[in-house]
Amino acid sequence: MEKPVIKVNSLKKYFGKIKAVDGISFEVKKGEIFGFLGPNGAGKTTTIRCLMDFTRATSGSISILEKDSYKDSVEIKKSLGYLPGNVKLYSKWTGLEHIKFIEGLRGKAVIAAELIERLNFDPSKKVKSLSSGNNQKLGLILSLMHKPKVVIMDEPTVALDPLLQNTIYEILDELKKEGTTIFMSSHNLPEVERICDRAGIIKEGKLVSIENIEDLHKKRLRKIEVHFEDEYSVGEFEFNGVEKVEEIKDGLLITAHGDINSLIKKISSHKLHDIEITHATLEDIFMEFYKRSGK
């Protein structure tokens, strides 16, 4: 069996009494895009900083490419690209100066020109004159231009417009096809669902669950608000997969997960005035996992 590219074992990171990360374990396989999902303050960035050896774990171990993330940090970083959320760059340098600087530390870039063209980025401008989107583009170029074997990204698309988000998703998809292993944190569930193979869900420093994205889709909660024009009863909608049926004015609010085909069939047997199906919020998903793990 192929060894995991990233292996985190019982990782704890405490800041005094605050348990930022509290004993999490997970593995990321080669060529996989692993999403690390959680609300703000859940411990995503702290975990990433431990992976990057910016902060040192209180206990536990991390190995990347079968090397210890602390002892072999320099060796690991030869094969690792990192993109922080809201990347901070040197305001007085141009994009090209950043690229040359990183080349000075890592050697000649492999795909810098290609990424510049693809992201429609002007490297001659000083960073202080760039928009946050262009800043993030430069961060992306710097993290990927050496074609690393492993990429770690902390909320890479935060505050970006949908067009740029899509370009980033496309690039990540291509890297994945070439065998690059990608670990990315996000608090955006649709983003994780769109590009990740698996996702770890973290809340209050603890890993609540690790799910295949396909399974996550199946488990996904939906809220269906139906307003009927004919007669109906609550009881006729209470079947497998339906979590809750609440009565509202002239209709019902149904919370369901998984396959909703049977439910929709049942609803469509009635004459409808209006229907609205919304995906559950991230918080709802967390609640579902919490409920399941008895927390």
Partner: protein, 265 residues
């Protein structure tokens, strides 16, 4: 490592130029002031209380010469203060500011150890300091000739410049240490400034009362006696060894702390 070293030098070149030009102005001021101050200074010394003169470490008979005047007024009083400002601002820029602004993440995510990053920055600081101190010392030689037609003993000025450089590196090593501890520019600048002001106060108080004489050993300023080098041509190796000891100790402690600590904005 050299990429970071050269980049840091490049980023500071304008600041270095401003410091050098400012020093050129002050040197011109001191040199131009000397002929008119020569007699007035001797009279002025008579009017000051002897305790104050002693506390400040001023020797009136020496300050009436150009080198004596420069050693007392420029090298002992003015240059150390500029060295403090220069060194603290450099270390704050090189370490604490990187962490505070978040750019340290760019460096730390590259295949280079924390120690190499730190050494590259420190080395750039030392080179910056060397350029600045030797400019601030050697510019006196042509300026004295041009402005007041005074010839000076060049080797003695080089020796004084070298000692001032070692003092500057000692100050910089202390400020790097606090930059590594606090990683917030405000605190990293404030704490070493406070310590150096206390050292300055120690050097004054130790001259006022014999009971407080021991305090002078805790002050960097005691170990840099410009008059002794420039006027008496006496190069105190013990003082040099103390300053070098401070540099080595601070560098090891800085490296230990910077290597162990969590670095995050």
């Amino acid at each position: 490592m050299m990429t970071i070293f050269f980049r840091t030098l490049k980023d500071r070149k304008f600041t270095l130029l401003v410091y050098c030009l400012a020093m050129l102005f002050f040197i011109w001021l001191y040199v131009a002031m000397f002929p008119s101050m020569e007699k007035a200074y001797a009279e002025m010394m008579k009017s000051f209380p002897s305790e104050w003169i002693k506390a400040m470490g001023v020797e009136p008979e020496k300050v009436s010469t150009f080198s004596g005047f420069m050693s007392e007024e420029y090298f002992s009083q003015f240059l150390p203060i500029i060295l403090i400002v220069f060194s603290i601002s450099f270390s704050g820029f090189a370490v604490a500011q990187e962490v505070e602004k978040g750019t340290s993440e760019i460096l730390l995510s590259q295949p280079i150890s924390r120690l190499r990053i730190l050494y590259a920055k420190f080395l750039a600081g030392v080179v910056n300091l060397a350029v600045f101190v030797f400019f601030a010392t050697l510019a006196i030689i042509p300026m004295a000739k041009l402005v007041s037609n005074i010839s000076v003993d060049v080797p003695r000025y080089i020796s004084t410049g070298f000692f001032a450089f070692v003092l500057g590196v000692a100050i910089m090593s202390i400020s790097f240490l606090f930059s590594a501890i606090f990683t917030e520019k405000g605190k990293a600048n404030f704490v070493p400034s406070g310590i150096l002001v206390i050292m300055y106060v120690f050097s004054i108080f130790s001259g006022i009362n014999k009971d407080w004489e021991v305090l002078r050993y805790f002050s960097f300023f005691y170990y840099f006696d410009a008059t002794e080098i420039l006027v008496d041509n006496n190069f105190d190796l013990v003082s040099l060894a103390v300053l070098l000891g401070v540099i080595v100790f601070s560098c090891f402690l800085t490296a230990y702390i910077f290597n162990k600590k969590d670095i995050s904005r």
